[in-house]
Subunit: 164 residues, 2 copies
DNA sequence: GTTTTTGCAAATGATTTGCATGGAT
DNA sequence: ATCCATGCAAATCATTTGCAAAAAC
């Protein structure tokens, strides 16, 4: 296994891992780098990228690393569907949500600008204790939309439904 | 197979199915009833309930029915996690969101009262075409919370994390 | 009668688990 | 030296798929 431990390009991550009480390992450092570079990558893709850099990382290791990093709050796991692969992003604290394309499955960030979001502040209803909130906008991304010449209808026609 | 076709207690559902262009079958009628009765049931549970009423409904039939009803817009599929079973509810058009308990996995409705929701109106950014929005509040439900005597802290401590 | 649904079995695919070895502290 | 992380293989588990028989139109 290549020794990245001495030459990691993002020394920050070593500290983040340590601060989170996690041991510093090559797969973990590289996974953090990869998740930071590619927004919303799936475990598959992250593993492939890790292999390119380390030469031998098992899928289970990638899953384990992603789980540990998620638990530690360094990255965030994004579930867009019950049956599609989870996606991961660096855990930020700005108020952003996600656009999920129902055609290609891609995910994009949206800053939460459409009105004050009741979304991300934890609160206690006295009954249910809300800790986090996920907002998923579902629709069709630019790449999957039929090319649009001029005027643009604001609301989708009912007929536009179809599945992935 | 029991002939519920003549005696379905919710004649409404027959019409809903027909209007949606779907054939009226016992599994479909019963599934609609069950989804209406039990909020947020999983396929498992729905299938078990259907068996109680019809005596023989395969899991695959239940999946097929749920898929057809979802496509038709009669029910709504709720994905709370990439790896947990989907949940289903009658499709309503009021602006409500969901509370998901990270301990027991249960789901509750919340009317969207905490400020104007930017959530449910479709809109066209010119780029991404938003059709629907899902808002998931994650936290701990009343049943899973440690019993609280008097004063209640409003924000959860960071330490309160744990997994299911 | 024709087309759609159901039922059965088997396949899929992301993720998890158990256990032995190797690496980080 | 000790304990945590990795790697391998096998297991899980919700959901989907292919195909023949049965039911709804």
């Amino acid at each position: 296994m290549v020794d990245l431990l001495q030459t990691a390009p993002e020394p920050d991550y070593r500290r983040q891992l340590r601060d989170a009480g996690l041991r510093v390992t090559a797969p973990r450092l590289v996974t953090l780098e990869i998740v930071a570079e590619r927004q919303h990558a799936e475990a598959d893709e992250i593993n492939a990228a890790a292999r390119e850099r380390l030469g031998d990382v098992s899928m289970q290791t990638t899953y384990g690393v992603l789980h540990a990093l998620t638990e530690a709050g360094l990255i965030r796991r994004l579930d867009t569907s019950s049956r599609e692969a989870a996606r991961y992003e660096i855990h930020r604290h700005d108020n952003h949500h996600h656009l999920v394309c129902r055609i290609c499955g891609s995910v994009e960030d949206v800053p939460c600008t459409r009105g004050e979001a009741p979304c991300l502040e934890p609160f206690d209803s006295g009954d249910f204790l809300v800790e986090t909130a996920d907002v998923l906008f579902r629709g069709v991304c630019a790449a999957c939309r039929p090319p649009q010449s001029t005027s643009v209808p604001v609301v989708p026609s009912k007929e536009e439904e179809e599945e992935r």
